[in-house]
């Protein structure tokens, strides 16, 4: 707990200084929420607002989403500062790899992180986390944390369980889950890597994905969403978290990540110099899937 208070006060101080010195145009961080266990986003543009910043175990949101969703913030001649947990930094790396943002436009305030909570327990993504100390940051808030073996050693354990189901069981599992989808698109909007100017689901000429929340439309939407994130999803789990219908969306993304890792040995958002595998061709690429 005292760690929270220390990190919060360091964060306030740094944000205030950055804004006072005019080094950044805005600071995107966390502030106290209105519900138990929830935090709000705070986009501070003046030093006074910086007093409201906090950092605690409920800071589960991946704030990198604002880098692609709020274009206006980035259109300033100064960089934007963002609070990012070590795992969130992977988003920035991936966005740089995809040429969506420039490193110099972002001031990364890396938050060292012991894991965050989603509702009652440790967030699913934290159970298998091996990244407690921020990399590639312009400033780090919090003390270095000793890296230790995570609670869950195989991040793909749940994916493997699903893989082991029979085709029919798997179909039933997903049909039942997608049946709950009402197409609010919170999964898309909360995803920091869903940044298309026009989403394929909104295209009408032709209409690739039916917009109605019926089994055909829902299945098409979620599968295509997962495919679009193959080799790109950095596993922040925001889609899972924001789905009020509790559809385990990140399982689909994890499955794609697993496939990409098995095929190309690639993990998204880890190495800023690496080329995303689906954007390049190598002679030694595995091509067993082409028949």
């Amino acid at each position: 707990m005292s760690n929270d208070i220390k990190q919060s006060s360091e964060a306030k101080k740094l944000a205030r200084e950055l804004l006072e010195q005019g080094k950044v145009s805005a600071v995107i961080g966390y502030a106290e929420g209105t519900l138990k266990g929830r935090v709000q986003t705070l986009i501070a543009r003046n030093p006074l607002d910086a007093e409201k910043f906090i950092f605690n175990e409920y800071c589960v949101n991946n704030l990198a989403v604002y880098l692609t969703k709020s274009y206006r913030l980035l259109k300033s001649d100064k960089p934007v500062a963002v609070f990012l947990k070590p795992c969130d930094i992977r988003t920035v790396t991936a966005l740089i790899q995809e040429h969506q943002i420039k490193r110099e436009d972002i001031f990364i305030i890396g938050m060292s992180c012991q894991g965050v909570r989603n509702g009652n327990g440790l967030s699913g993504k934290c159970r298998a986390c091996r990244m407690h100390n921020p990399q590639y940051s312009d400033a780090v808030i919090g003390e270095a944390i000793e890296e230790k073996e995570p609670e869950v050693t195989d991040p793909f354990a749940r994916v493997k369980e699903i893989e082991n189901m029979s085709t029919q069981e798997r179909w039933q599992f997903w049909t039942k889950e997608f049946d709950k989808c009402i197409r609010c698109y919170a999964c898309r909007q909360a995803c920091p890597l869903c940044y298309c100017e026009q989403c394929i689901v909104d295209k009408t000429q032709p209409r690739w994905i039916e917009s109605s929340a019926h089994p055909v439309g829902n299945m098409a939407w979620h599968l295509i969403r997962a495919f679009h994130l193959a080799g790109r999803c950095i596993g922040c789990g925001e889609c899972d978290r924001v789905c009020h219908q509790n559809i385990p969306l990140s399982l689909l993304n994890m499955k794609m990540s697993k496939e990409i890792f098995d095929l190309y040995g690639y993990r998204s958002g880890v190495d800023p110099e690496a080329k995303p595998p689906l954007t390049e061709f190598k002679m030694e690429d595995n091509e067993e899937f082409i028949r």
Binding site: I43, K176, A186
Partner: protein, 344 residues
């Protein structure tokens, strides 16, 4: 209005209704998600004391997330169209909260004025709303801000409240409600004497977030279509439709055609003012091209436009938008802070 004592528990009540062949819709778990759904066995239903509210409101039983309104088929120049029909079976929606029952009295206005939407209205006529007063609340609840209470009867056909002995007392509020009671009369005993005011409900009322001043909010909105605050609040908004889709009073929709070979359906689908496509003209012009304008529309529609038109606030304080917002953009907090600002 008659008052009855339920001689059994909730599950037995549902069991008796099912035994009579009634179509019972009640909160039950779909996976980990508490949703209204058709109950085949009384035990599937979650006891009212076990939940605050369902994730989705009951609006989908009058205004489904997607429904066919016209059927058509075509072959060359020959086109045939048919009416699609809303299901006409009677439904008993049991275990809903006073905020959700009251919501229908608000959306009735829009679907029932000038042009009558018989898809909504048929289902509405055929559904009995059997409400259970709240036994717990959370920090998101704010129904007292919009004239409701944990035990409001507005919109309910029957309202069940628990007395201090833990017995359910049924307040019949309509003929439809009376019919439901009559169908399982053996479970009920009419109460003649004055029923006690139950302290639980007053406690919940007092524990709730302090009531908003909707008159003051409207006054502020009347003057502040243009305000830098819209930008400030909406900059956090991710532009998803969670708030609108889970809202029991949001009623905007889209109409789309879907075909398979030479047959098709024209569908009415939920839609939300938070999506940029909602107002995009074919010409490319978009009156609400940025999120701040879309967020403003949402707040204005709830607390100003709807009351300008129908003299009602388009909100029941159920708190679903607050609970579901990915970034905790809390409409209660927003409107209460807005009104603190000096009007321009």
């Amino acid at each position: 209005m008659k008052i009855y004592k339920l001689k059994t528990g909730y599950t037995e009540f549902l069991g008796a209704l099912l035994q009579k062949g009634k179509n019972v819709i009640a909160p039950r778990f779909a996976g980990r998600t508490l949703l209204f759904g058709k109950i085949d066995k009384a035990e599937e239903a979650v006891l009212p004391e076990k939940y605050i509210n369902t994730v989705r409101s009951a609006k989908e039983f009058m205004f489904p997330v997607t429904e066919a309104v016209v059927e058509f088929s075509f072959r060359n120049k020959d086109v045939k169209i048919h009416d699609a029909h809303p299901e006409e079976d009677e439904k008993l929606i049991v275990g809903l909260r006073p905020c959700d029952a009251a919501a229908f009295t608000i959306t009735d206005d829009i679907f029932n004025y000038e042009y009558k939407d018989e898809f909504y209205l048929t289902r509405r006529r055929n559904a009995a709303l059997i409400t259970f007063a709240c036994e717990s609340i959370d920090e998101a609840c704010f129904c007292t801000s919009v004239g409701l209470k944990p035990d409001s009867i507005q919109g309910s056909d029957i309202l069940f409240k628990k007395n201090s002995a833990g017995t359910y007392i049924a307040y019949v509020n309509s003929e439809k409600g009376q019919k439901v009671i009559d169908s399982v009369k053996e479970l009920f005993e009419e109460v003649i004497e004055v029923v006690e005011d139950i302290p639980l409900y007053r406690d919940l009322e007092n524990k709730m977030r302090s009531p908003l001043d909707t008159v003051k909010i409207k006054e502020w909105l009347d003057k502040n279509f243009e305000s830098p605050l819209w930008d400030e609040y909406s900059s956090r908004c991710l532009g998803c439709g969670s708030c609108a889709y889970l809202c029991p009073t949001c009623h905007c929709f889209d109409i789309v055609d879907e075909t398979k070979y030479s047959q098709g359906l024209r569908r009415k689908n939920w839609d939300a003012c938070q999506f940029p496509l909602f107002t995009l003209h074919a010409s490319g012009h978009n009156p609400r091209e940025v999120q701040s304008k879309r967020y403003r529309q949402r707040v204005m529609h709830k607390f100003k436009y709807y009351s300008d038109r129908f003299n009602k606030t388009l909100c029941t304080g159920c708190g679903r938008c607050v609970r579901s917002c990915p970034v905790n953009l809390d409409i209660y907090q927003v409107v209460s802070e807005l009104t603190k600002e000096e009007t321009a």
